[in-house]
Symmetry: C2
Subunit: 409 residues, 2 copies
Amino acid sequence: MTPVIEIIIVGNEILCGRTIDRNSIHMIRELERAGFSVRHLCVVDDDTADLIHAFKAAAERSDVVLVTGGLGPTSDDRTISAVAEAFGKSLVLDDRSLVKIEELFRRHNRPMSESNRRQALIPEGSRAIDNPVGTAPGIRLDIAGTRFYFLPGVPSEMRTLFGESVLPELSSDFEAEKIQTATIHVTGISESELYDRIKHLPGAGDAFAYYPSPEGLVVSIKTGAVSPMAAAELLTEAVRILGDRVYSTTGDSLEQVVGRLLTERRLTLGIAESCTGGLVSHRLTNVPGASGYLLCGIIAYSNESKQRVLGVASDLFERYGAVSAEVAAAMAEGARTVSGSDIAISTTGIAGPGGATPVKPVGLMYAGLATADGTKTWRLQFAEDRLINKSRMSQSVLDILRIHLERGT
Amino acid sequence: MTPVIEIIIVGNEILCGRTIDRNSIHMIRELERAGFSVRHLCVVDDDTADLIHAFKAAAERSDVVLVTGGLGPTSDDRTISAVAEAFGKSLVLDDRSLVKIEELFRRHNRPMSESNRRQALIPEGSRAIDNPVGTAPGIRLDIAGTRFYFLPGVPSEMRTLFGESVLPELSSDFEAEKIQTATIHVTGISESELYDRIKHLPGAGDAFAYYPSPEGLVVSIKTGAVSPMAAAELLTEAVRILGDRVYSTTGDSLEQVVGRLLTERRLTLGIAESCTGGLVSHRLTNVPGASGYLLCGIIAYSNESKQRVLGVASDLFERYGAVSAEVAAAMAEGARTVSGSDIAISTTGIAGPGGATPVKPVGLMYAGLATADGTKTWRLQFAEDRLINKSRMSQSVLDILRIHLERGT
């Protein structure tokens, strides 16, 4: 049986806008990798009546309900008392969990409070799931054909319990959907342009789904919409039509693709960033093993540091301005020299909201790429707010680097 | 009347884990700033039956329903046809929207496709809302006492329509809740430690809510739970008890606080990053005006670049290793010299998953802070995955800088 899976995120902090809900994203991705898809997702306030309502609705429509949050030690953590009330269960002290909590505090040499003791209470008939990385145990409770898992909201704890206990249980007890979703990651093309280029492919109307993001566009072939063979053909044909706009068909991020290409070609990288302010370096160093190819990044935010650290000639600023092809080129060359790398990339531009001039609007960026064979520059224009501009600018320069590495020139 | 507000995010891309739902966060924060709170949030697949079910449930329980996504030009954008079906409306061509779409394509000198023409269709009885930054108009539709707003899913378009049209209408037509939520942002303290320190305050049980995140903890005083005067007293008392663990009571991020302190004290900053890989610089440059105090950041990922760019003496690596207090100190001093700044901060550590040794586990970090008066270092230990370690490490070094600037030493 392929289960109907529902996620309930508990926590006023999301409805209040304090926290981004990263837990659902993690669970959804891991489930998809295992061949399961999520049908319902909702976010519920730490309010007992709302929680009871959500738990009852979930028990009616879903086979598996994954609940995160509200297991903490504070007075606004109400998940367990709400589930006990929703299904008429009393709370019992789980001795094993209490011993583990006590051990944890002893090991960290910290005093244990009454509020932590409360975290060992679980509904009768449920089973505590060991939490090796925190105080609150996870809980599994089966209610008339629906299986509830309650997990802590702290992402590291949720991930550990989900990966080590929940997902293995689901994989062994339920049948995964057979067709995995195939994806094509593209960048540097608009959604409607992309759509118009591939919509005529046979079966495209039912099979393709389109997902825009600051990291580009994802075209996904939907699970179950077409046969595996037709899906493979559609994928091949779409990749052919989209050409070098495709950076990944495996789900890898652009920084992962760039990292792999650098590793394969045994090339090292230097970076000079102005308008992207460290984001290019941050993205590349999110990939484990980046120290194998990334030598040095320079965030030369002031003109003086562009001169002093990267050796950009001062007359370039006077003649062309800091946001210019000439300065982008000099920055890339400087980063290559300073870091001693094979290749260097650079960004200089206006992220906004300030800094625009009549001829240089917010969102304007020049990118540079320097190798032993010479230096090239690109002029790009974006039109969003500061954070999205930084994101799109970083995407562009990483894509320039990818194309360079793929062509092997 | 204080309205019951519901958000429905349409899009298979969120249930598939392709995209993070940033739209709900933006709307929630803006609504809260205007004195409104959101009661329901759900994410619905681009599936006509699921959409119809969600729209009908929302019409029953909510006064205002904010729907984003599914207005795009592709075949999997089904929001408008689903709402027409849910409430028995036909679709009519909105001439004004069509003219605007045609204009937009002419201005960008791009061919307009049939799929873009489809974006001018709106349900009968609804009103199109001008979209100055994209093709799909927003739509307002009133159904038996419930007001629906349909907005594009592209964040920049959604933000424009929401800020310029939706929020002003809500503010003029509905009564906002009177008490704004006050918040205390803290860092460097665990949730249960914080809870135990302030839970005894009179009224704390009802009034405080606790929100952990990689950027620290937020203690919020809940809207309506206590009188404005009691809320102000609780806030003052909690801030006094928590002392220098509090970095903000205005909702500002740590990088905003640090930026303001640097500006006020007319001090400039240099950065040397190893394990944080550019994240410290990225966060600081997310704040508009960062170019006023940030001179230069060096991401010295290789030992050679630590020597070459920052001037770290090579024997320090042999005697203490790259992850050591001595190297952190030399990096901070080098960053101060290279960038010519008043203050410099540094990070060196093991973000993981690789790179650990028997005496230096994953998550170990040394931070350095150099001024004209000398250099200090800190040893910190984290225990998460690579991305969360980078996040917590960046938070720690920014907090070290904040404390230094606040003490004025």
